[in-house]
C-alpha cells in the first residue's frame, strides 16, 4: 500500500474529498454513457482522429469553456475567502493552491486554447484555404494541449495542487518549500501543452504565408488573419524560452541540479528572469488575437471599412518586437540599478504607443458609422474604454520608481485583469458569438446574450475596480486573509458581490447555448451579419473542403466588394479536391504524453522510460508511414454543394 500513498493529497479537506468523489463519478458517468449510447465509434471517427481544422477548433473551444469554469470556481472561492476579514473558509495552503491553479488554468488552459480554437476555425476560411499547412500536426497540437491540461487538473485530486503562484518563483517553487508533487505537475503539464502550442505557431505561420487565396497579398489580408500571423510569430520565439525554463525547473526538482537553488551558486532570480522573457510576450499572445477579433467585429457592425489598415499592421509588428524587450518591468524591485530599471521603464512605456494607435483606429472606424448594437459589438464597444483603463494603469506601473509602491499589491491585480478580461475574455466571447452561426448555422439568442453581457461587464467592474483602491491603500496580493483593522473589508465584500455578478453572467452564457441550440430559428443565411471577409462567402455549416472553388481576391474585404457589385469571387469549374486523411496517432500520442507526464510527476522511472519509448515509436511510425490523403470527386462536390445551397439559399 505504501506505493499508493504518494497519490494521496497531502493537505486534504472535505472540499477536496468531495471533488475527488465528484470527478470519479463524472468520469465514470461519461464512460458508461458513451458506452451505453454506443458513441465510441462516432467519437473516434469524427472527433478523436479528425485533422479538420474546424473540428479541432471546436474541440479547443469546448476544452477552453470547461477550463473557464474550473478557473472560475477557483476565482469565486478566492473572492469568498477574502470577502470578510479573518475569514476561515480556506486556510493559507489552500488559498495558495487556488490562486496558483486559477492563474495557470486561466492563462494557459483557457485564454490560449480559446484563441487557438477561434484561430483554427477562422484563419483558413479567411484566407480561402482548404485546411492548415500541416493538418496532422494540428491534431497533435490539440491533443498535447488537451492531455497536458488534464494532467494539470488532476493535481487537485491526485498528489496535491501546485502552490507557488502561476509565476512559480523560486525558492517557493523548490522542493524545499513546496514538498508535494504539485510543482512537478506545474512544470511538466505546462511543458506538454507548451510543445503543442509551439507546433501551432509554426503551423499557422506557414499556413498564412503560403496558402492564401490567389490575389490576397499580405496587405490584403483581413485584420484578424494579420493578428494571428503576428501572434504565432511571438509564440514561435517565446515558447522555447518557457520550454527551457520549465525543463530547468524540472531538473532542479527531480534531479537535484542547482539552477535556481539558494546554495552551490544557484540563482533564484534567474527563474523570474526566464519566466518573464516568455511571460511578457505571452500577454501579447493573448491580446493580439483579441485586437484582430475586435477589428473584424467593429468594421462589420459599424458598416465601415477598418480605419487605418496600414497603421494597424505596423503597430502589431512593432508590438511583436517591443513585447520581447520589456520583461524586466515585472521585477523592478529585484534590486538592480537605476540603469536597468530606466531602460525597461522606457521600453515599457513605448509599447503603449502602438497600442494607443490601435485604440484610435477603432474609434475612427466607429466615427460616423451606422452602428448596430449586436452582442459581439457590445463587447467590442465595452472593451475600448475598459481596456484603456488597464493600459493607463499599466503605464503607471511602468514607472520603476512608482512601481516600488504598486508592486505585488491589489493594484497590480486590478491592472492585469483590466487588460486581460475586456481584452481577451470579452474578445473570445464576442468572437464566439460572432462566428457561432458559421459553424452551427443558427445564431445565439441576442436577448439572452445581452443579459449575459450586462452582467459580465458590470460584474467585472464591480469586482476589479475596488482593487485599485485597496491596492493603493497597501493591500498585498496573494494574502489569504487580513484583519478588520486594515479597513479593506467593505471593498473586498464589494468585489465578492461583483464576482457573483460575473458568475450569473456566465450562467446566462451557458443557458444561451442551451436555449439557442433548442429553440433558435434554423437556416439563417450563410452571412447573417452582413459581414466582409471570406469566411462568410462559403456555406454554413462549412463543408469539409471549405470552398468548392478557391476564391480569387483583390482587396482586404473581397466578400463585401463582391456583394456590392465588385468582381466575382468564385470563377471556374469544380475540380477534384485533395484532402488529408484522419489519423488516430495524434490522440494516442497525447495519451502517451499524459502517461509520461504522470510518471515524471511521481518519479516513476520505469513508466517514464516505457512511455518515452512510446513517444519515439509514434515518431518513427510517422517517419515510415505513407499517407497521400484522399480525393473528393467532382460529383461528390456537386452533391454536397446542392444540399448546402438548399440549406441556406
Amino acid at each position: 500500500m505504501d506505493y499508493f500513498d504518494r497519490f494521496a493529497v497531502p493537505h486534504s479537506s472535505p472540499m477536496i474529498v468531495g471533488s475527488q468523489i465528484a470527478i470519479a463519478v463524472t468520469v465514470l458517468a461519461i464512460l458508461v454513457g458513451v458506452t451505453y449510447f454506443k458513441k465510441w465509434g462516432y467519437l473516434w471517427r469524427e472527433w478523436f482522429t479528425t485533422v479538420d481544422h474546424k473540428r479541432i477548433g471546436i474541440m479547443y473551444i469546448l476544452a477552453a469553456l470547461l477550463m473557464l469554469f474550473r478557473g472560475g470556481a477557483d476565482a469565486i472561492l478566492m473572492r469568498a475567502q477574502t470577502a470578510i476579514p479573518d475569514n476561515g473558509l480556506l486556510d493559507g495552503q489552500h488559498y495558495n493552491e487556488i490562486f496558483t491553479t486559477h492563474g495557470v488554468v486561466m492563462i494557459l488552459f483557457m485564454a490560449m486554447p480559446f484563441i487557438i480554437g477561434l484561430m483554427n476555425i477562422v484563419t483558413p476560411l479567411q484566407i480561402g484555404a482548404r485546411d492548415v499547412a500541416f493538418p496532422r500536426l494540428n491534431a497533435v497540437s490539440f491533443w498535447l494541449f488537451f492531455w497536458g491540461a488534464m494532467l494539470f487538473n488532476i493535481s487537485f485530486v491526485v498528489g496535491g495542487s501546485p502552490d507557488a503562484g502561476w509565476t512559480a518563483y523560486f525558492p517557493l517553487a523548490s522542493v524545499e518549500f513546496s514538498e508535494s508533487v504539485g510543482m512537478n505537475y506545474y512544470a511538466i503539464a505546462i511543458q506538454i501543452a507548451g510543445i503543442g502550442t509551439l507546433m501551432t505557431g509554426i503551423n499557422f505561420i506557414v499556413t498564412i504565408l503560403k496558402m492564401r487565396a490567389p490575389g490576397m497579398t499580405l496587405m490584403k489580408m483581413p485584420m484578424f488573419t494579420w493578428s494571428i500571423l503576428i501572434t504565432n510569430l511571438i509564440i514561435v520565439f517565446a515558447f522555447p524560452v518557457l520550454t527551457v525554463a520549465l525543463a530547468l525547473m524540472t531538473m532542479d526538482r527531480l534531479f537535484g541540479t542547482n539552477f535556481f537553488t539558494m546554495a552551490n551558486g544557484g540563482s533564484d532570480m534567474l527563474w523570474a528572469n526566464l519566466f518573464w522573457i516568455w511571460g511578457h510576450p505571452e500577454v501579447y499572445i493573448v491580446i493580439l488575437p483579441a485586437f484582430g477579433i475586435y477589428s473584424e467585429i467593429i468594421s462589420t457592425f459599424a458598416r465601415r471599412n477598418l480605419y487605418g489598415y496600414k497603421s494597424m499592421v505596423v503597430s502589431m509588428v512593432a508590438i511583436s518586437v517591443l513585447s520581447f524587450v520589456v520583461w524586466a518591468h515585472h521585477f523592478f524591485t529585484m534590486g538592480h540599478g537605476a540603469m536597468v530599471n530606466g531602460i525597461f521603464s522606457i521600453t515599457t512605456m513605448a509599447i503603449a504607443v502602438p497600442t494607443g494607435i490601435k485604440i484610435f483606429n477603432w474609434l475612427f472606424t466607429l466615427w460616423k458609422g451606422k452602428i448596430e448594437f449586436t452582442v459581439p459589438m457590445l463587447y467590442s464597444l465595452a472593451f475600448i474604454p475598459i481596456f484603456t483603463i488597464g493600459g493607463v494603469t499599466g503605464v503607471m506601473l511602468a514607472m520603476a520608481s512608482a512601481d516600488y509602491q504598486y508592486h505585488n499589491t491589489m493594484f497590480l491585480v486590478a491592472h492585469f485583469h483590466y487588460v486581460l478580461i475586456p481584452g481577451t475574455v470579452f474578445a473570445v466571447l464576442a468572437g464566439f458569438t460572432y462566428w457561432w452561426p458559421k459553424i452551427f448555422n443558427f445564431q445565439l439568442s441576442e436577448r439572452i446574450g445581452k443579459w449575459a453581457f450586462w452582467f459580465i461587464v458590470v460584474g467585472f467592474n464591480v469586482t476589479f475596480f475596488p482593487m485599485f483602491i485597496t491596492g493603493l491603500d497597501g493591500q498585498a496580493r496573494r494574502m489569504y486573509t487580513y484583519s478588520e483593522a486594515t479597513g479593506y473589508g467593505p471593498l473586498n465584500l464589494l468585489s465578492f458581490v461583483g464576482a457573483l455578478g460575473l458568475l450569473i453572467g456566465f450562467a446566462f452564457l451557458v443557458y444561451n447555448i442551451y436555449w439557442s441550440t433548442r429553440y433558435a430559428p434554423r437556416n439563417v443565411t450563410s452571412d447573417p451579419w452582413n459581414a466582409r471577409s471570406l469566411e462568410w462567402a462559403t456555406h454554413s455549416p462549412v463543408p469539409e473542403y471549405n470552398f468548392a472553388i478557391v476564391p480569387e481576391v483583390d482587396s482586404s474585404q473581397a466578400f463585401w466588394d463582391s456583394k456590392n457589385n465588385g468582381p466575382a469571387l468564385f470563377k471556374g469549374k469544380y475540380k477534384e479536391i485533395h484532402m488529408p486523411n484522419n489519423s488516430g496517432v495524434p490522440f494516442v500520442l497525447g495519451i502517451i504524453f499524459f502517461v509520461w507526464g504522470f510518471a515524471m510527476v511521481f518519479s516513476m522511472w520505469i513508466f517514464a522510460i516505457i512511455s518515452t519509448l512510446g513517444i519515439f515509436a509514434c515518431m518513427a511510425h510517422r517517419s515510415f508511414e505513407k499517407d497521400h490523403g484522399h480525393h473528393i470527386s467532382v460529383e461528390e462536390i456537386e452533391e454536397t454543394e446542392k444540399k448546402l445551397r438548399g440549406a441556406n439559399a
Binding site: 503560403k210 534531479f255 542547482n258 539552477f259 546554495a263 552551490n264 517517419s623
Partner: protein, 198 residues
Amino acid sequence: MKIDNSLPLEYSTEENRLKILGFWIFLGAEIALFATLFATYFTLVNRTGNGPIGADIFEVTPVLIETILLLTSSFTIGLGINAMRHGSKNAMMVFFIITLALGAGFLGTEIFEFKHYVHIGAGLQVSAFTSILLTLLGTHGAHVTLGLFWGLFIVLQVKKRGLTPETTNKAFIYSLYWHFLDVVWIFIFSFVYLKGMM
C-alpha cells in the same frame, strides 16, 4: 499530387515546399531555445559554489576531436544532398552513412567526456555552473542522438523507396537540421570551451 519538374525533387510539390519553410521556422524556435540555454550559461558560469571552474576541467584534445568530426559531417551531408540533386542514389547514401558514422564518433567522444567530468567531480549536481554546462552540452548531444536515428530512418527509406519527392524532401530537411546542430556546436566550442580556457 502536382509535381513541378523545374525544381529539385525536394521542392517539387506544394506539400514539400510547405514542409521546408515550416522546418526553417522550427529552426528559428531552436535558435531561441539554445539562446536561452546560453543566456543561462553566461549567468551561471562564474557561480561555481564549491565545485570546479571551467578552466579546471576543460581539455583541448577531446573538444577539438568533436569539433572536427562534426564540421566534417556537416560537409559530407552537404555532399550527400548535392549527390541527391544529381540523382545519384548510391553516392547520396554513402555520404549519408559517412555523416552518421562521424556523428556517432562525435557522440562517443562526448559520452567519454561526460564520464570524465563526473569522474573528476564535475557532475550534474555539483554547482550551478556544472548543472548548466552539462545541460547545455546534453541538450545538444540529445539533438545529435535524435538526429542519428532520424538519419538512419531516412537512409533506410531511400534504400527501399528510391529518390522520390517524399524521401528527398525528408533528406533535405534532415540536412538542414544537421547543419544547424553544427552551428550550435560552433557556439558551444567558442563560447563555452575556448572562452573558458582563455
